[in-house]
Symmetry: C2
Subunit: 234 residues, 2 copies
């Protein structure tokens, strides 16, 4: 019987420590069309796995479809992320591929090469008929109204005259059924058209524990469905 990899247990344990409370941000690195690296802080939105495959956990996060990282991951889905837990001084470095779940009607960039990187987890979930779009809408709906408002703004990175321009944007966007007026309803719809999910399938995990004396470093590598593990010099 397959089981969850030990790094996931370690990560879950670390996240549950009081000293790491609220540390649900990580840094995701990707590469642009010129082959140069980019990295940004992203909020974790949970783990998910194919039915019957706890050995193939995915990390879920979200992005605005209009940000540069979307073009980057569509061109090269290989990414790496760092989850640094400062409370317990642990670093989890995860390497793998990412899949974008854009709004169905999104105008994606017209790319010369659009990768179709194989991922066991994605293939399984596709075969199981996982409803990616349903998950996207659910995730959009459960986030706090101030976060939802971020997706109903003008395109991220667009130049504006001054900071006060932002005062004309909605500060919060309630769910569709809680909308008080047409404006809020439109903001909800506008955000839903830019809200995309990203699912990250790690094949390598590097766990460093800096509070341990001597420091510990453990590497996990997935080949096919199997995780193997070894101890390394930190």
């Amino acid at each position: 019987m397959v089981s969850a990899p030990r790094w996931l247990a370690a990560l879950t344990t670390a996240l549950g420590l009081p000293e790491n409370k609220g540390q649900i941000m990580y840094q995701l690195a990707s590469v642009d069309a010129n082959g140069n690296p980019h990295v940004r802080t992203i909020g974790h939105r949970g783990f998910i796995e194919p039915e019957g495959s706890p050995n193939l956990p995915l990390l879920m996060c979200a992005t605005d479809i209009r940000t540069p990282k979307v073009t980057q991951i569509l061109t090269n889905p290989h990414v790496e992320l760092i989850w640094w837990l400062s409370g317990s001084m642990e670093q989890f470095r995860l390497t793998g591929v990412v899949r974008l779940v854009p709004p169905p009607d999104a105008q994606l960039p017209d790319l010369p090469v659009q990768s179709t990187e194989a991922s066991l987890a994605f293939q399984k979930m596709d075969a199981q008929g996982f409803e990616w779009e349903k998950k996207r809408v659910e995730t959009y709906d459960v986030q706090p109204p101030f976060l939802r408002a971020g997706f109903a703004r003008p395109p991220p990175g667009a130049i504006i005259e001054n900071y006060d321009v932002g005062k004309s944007w909605p500060g919060i966007v309630p769910r569709a059924e809680d909308a008080q007026n047409e404006e809020e309803k439109q903001a909800y719809e506008r955000g839903l058209r830019t809200f995309a999910l990203m699912f990250f399938d790690p094949v390598e995990v590097d766990w460093v524990q800096l509070k341990e004396r001597p420091n510990r470093r453990t590497k996990f590598i997935r080949k096919g469905e199997e995780w193997s593990e070894y101890i390394a010099v930190p």
Copy 2:
């Protein structure tokens, strides 16, 4: 008269806030020879600038010469780093090029292409006769003994039998003049032969302030010696 860029003042202010105390770690992203991204947490070791050029500040950090990022930045010196200050909820994203200052006798990887990316700051400091090697030794010497010990270990990433192997490594390595015996002296020398500095010259800085309502985002771009600044949608 040239002056320091406003983003540096903003970053210095943020670092001085009590809620950001001790947040001197950032994530540095680079690209490997296959064009895939990598990222890791690194400790900041200070700012430095060419004499008379406060407009060209460099960030200094350190690495073990035996880590994969050394090959990566020698092949492609374009890097990006994220400094996430969770206390004040500010993200500084810095894009630029990095220069490695290895130990003089280091056996660097034999690379097909070794970049010589132009950097105004590095050129100025070279012309001013900045003593890179002296700075490297000084920085090695001022770090706490437990950090210095990290450089005197076997190669990072090398496989070991179990965590206890680490007990045979020095837990602290005093400075040469404080060494109590031959073993400590050798550990000091061993570490000095793997300790490298990295100097990062940013040409673009993206500053996001998530505690502000509405959120603020300011971009700084350097062309030649001049920083320009504009306000953008977060």
